[in-house]
Symmetry: C2
Subunit: 361 residues, 2 copies
């Protein structure tokens, strides 16, 4: 069952849990804030529901609590960060703040970060730049999930791309996996006992799996050596544009693992403590191109013109960020949605860490 | 009928035609070279077949022969170029050379160019950077063709994205429309009298048109006010990822028309002489992140690992640029393919300009 909880209280609880792991006050605040932001914007799959995963990683040493990100190479407009397996959210915030600083000083900052951890939604980091009047981008690699076009085995991660830019009435925030859907979406449909509505999962490189009860095949999505994987954006044939999603996944790999000399998607596993995902962070100051206000106004008008186009009867045109802004308005007022299982997980973690959860839920 | 012609001879003929329009020796050489590169790499839809379109634009004044691109704003890492409606290829080469110069001096160069012209394949410009040991990107907007998800009217161009990076045995060159296919691909299928094999064209925002004989609807692709348009990459429903192709199209618009304060896709028409497409050009020196040779080696090995994955029986995994490299090997030896109609068009143009075509074809 799913219930709503006050976001400020859950934020405080998660904050206390991170403190109990041994993170500093500032780190705990940042990490909690990031998870709550995600739930507030309606992306529950990547919010507090993921605490259990981070908890496992902290317990088995894949996430190292006392790690500090290190700049291993730097120019005015770029840096390579070795995150030394710290918490992904903290590596992400650190790296994007560095990109923002460089963009404010020199117009552009591009950071590539290796030996990181799962950092949640890429859009959060892109939007950090937008919140400061800049354009932001972020992407990350992840364990193998995507079938390169015509391959029967996954090799590339879901490798999301995020881009954010200030606009009215709210920022444009694009954040998408380069597979047709992220792994989490398949899991949501299985939990809801609904068949997959499109070619999301393919067996032997081409045969769609729609049946949510096909546990034999769907469980193989977690096995990088299996003959089941996620379709790239554009499906599994060139006729539908499969090579485009595939190529975008490769480009994400360039900006994350290749430029940072880190681990490629295919090397990432949940168990090996010596490998970690890689991420990229870009901030650009639009002022280097022209008057920032005029640029943002032009962009806002452009987006509004799209929203005003004639539509399929009963359908709405959503610009990237629109649905999340609607969810935020609802969730900040009525509370964030947390399912009972996740709540129990949080309670168990809190109890183990001697954090009193009762005032917060 | 399609025949093969020596690429060097056709190059010289096109060069002479551009000279006859009034372009300088260097300009004519660049413009011809770019078209021939396109045919040599097997992308005939954008090669010398397009000369007739450029010829029309030069005759009606949409392309201005005596125009010079002007830098209207500049920083160490960026510039806004007003192309003043010069030939798209020349604007593109000028702008990418500027991006490359900035990348070599400061690590990164981002150029946004307005009031340009149709510049051919975006991948050519991205690859200019790769040919100099850099990473390159280019994108452009174009007249309305893409249906935003749930819209029944086209508003965004096919807005391609190109990315190139040095690799062995040849450069990685990704160059794709953010629609499922480019307009030209629909035309090719109509000429070949083959039905469209996937949801490329949609009526009323959702109904696929497959019949190549459905001239009534397919001709409406050229009418921005009609209820027929191209599907974004990812189709027309969110289940298949339509919003992802749509969002990528918007991001291309940001880097082209929005940052340059130029014309958005929806303002572009073949007839209005006071509007033109916008383009973006990015060059990045990988050396700002690490040892260039090590990075390119890592990337080449990564791509080779993908090529070596198990495949669907009888199928090959093509990395972006592989097919074009194969076409090049064939065409440089055996000649580029030109259909009779295109050849007649070239002869007619040459005759009008008093260029002797006989030694070249």
């Amino acid at each position: 069952m799913i219930k709503r909880y006050d976001s400020h209280k859950i934020n405080k609880l998660i904050d206390n849990i991170y403190l109990a792991y041994g993170f500093s006050a500032e780190q705990s605040h940042q990490a909690a804030e990031m998870l709550i932001y995600t739930d507030l914007h309606g992306i529950e799959s990547h919010g507090v529901q993921r605490l259990i995963m981070y908890d496992n990683f902290i317990q088995n040493g894949k996430i190292r609590v006392n790690s500090t990100p290190e700049i291993v190479k730097e120019t005015n407009v770029s840096a390579v960060v070795d995150a030394h397996f710290g918490l992904g959210q903290l590596n992400g915030i650190y790296s994007m703040e560095l990109a923002i600083k460089k963009a404010k000083a020199h117009g552009i900052g591009i950071i590539t970060t290796r030996n990181s951890g799962h950092y949640g939604i890429a859009g959060y980091y892109a939007n950090m730049a937008a919140e400061q009047g800049l354009m932001g981008m972020s992407s990350c690699n992840s364990r193998p999930a995507m079938l390169p076009t015509h391959a029967t085995k996954a090799f590339i991660g879901t490798n999301p791309i995020a881009f954010a830019m200030p606009a009215n009435p709210h920022n444009f925030i694009f954040d998408v996996a380069t597979t047709t859907v992220a792994q989490g979406k398949v899991e949501v449909y299985r939990k809801l006992e609904q068949d997959l509505p499109a070619l999301w999962v393919a067996k032997d490189g081409k045969t769609p799996i729609y049946d949510h009860n096909d546990n034999t095949n769907l469980d193989l999505l977690r096995d990088p050596d299996a003959n089941v994987g996620l379709a790239p954006l554009g499906g599994v044939t060139e006729d539908t544009g499969s090579h485009k999603g595939f190529g975008l996944g490769v480009i994400v790999e360039v900006f994350t693992s290749i430029l940072s000399m880190g681990n490629i998607s295919n090397e990432i596993t949940p168990t090996d403590l010596s490998v970690g995902p890689c991420q990229s962070f870009v901030a650009i100051d639009p002022e280097i191109f022209g008057d920032k206000t005029a640029i943002f106004d032009k962009f806002s008008n452009y987006l509004q013109d799209i929203r005003s186009l004639p539509t399929i009867p009963g359908k709405t045109i959503y610009i990237a960020g629109d649905k999340e802004a609607l969810a935020y308005q609802n969730n900040i007022k009525n509370g964030i949605e947390i399912d009972d299982r996740t709540l129990e997980e949080i309670k168990t973690i809190a109890t183990r860490l001697k954090v009193n959860y009762q005032p917060y839920i």
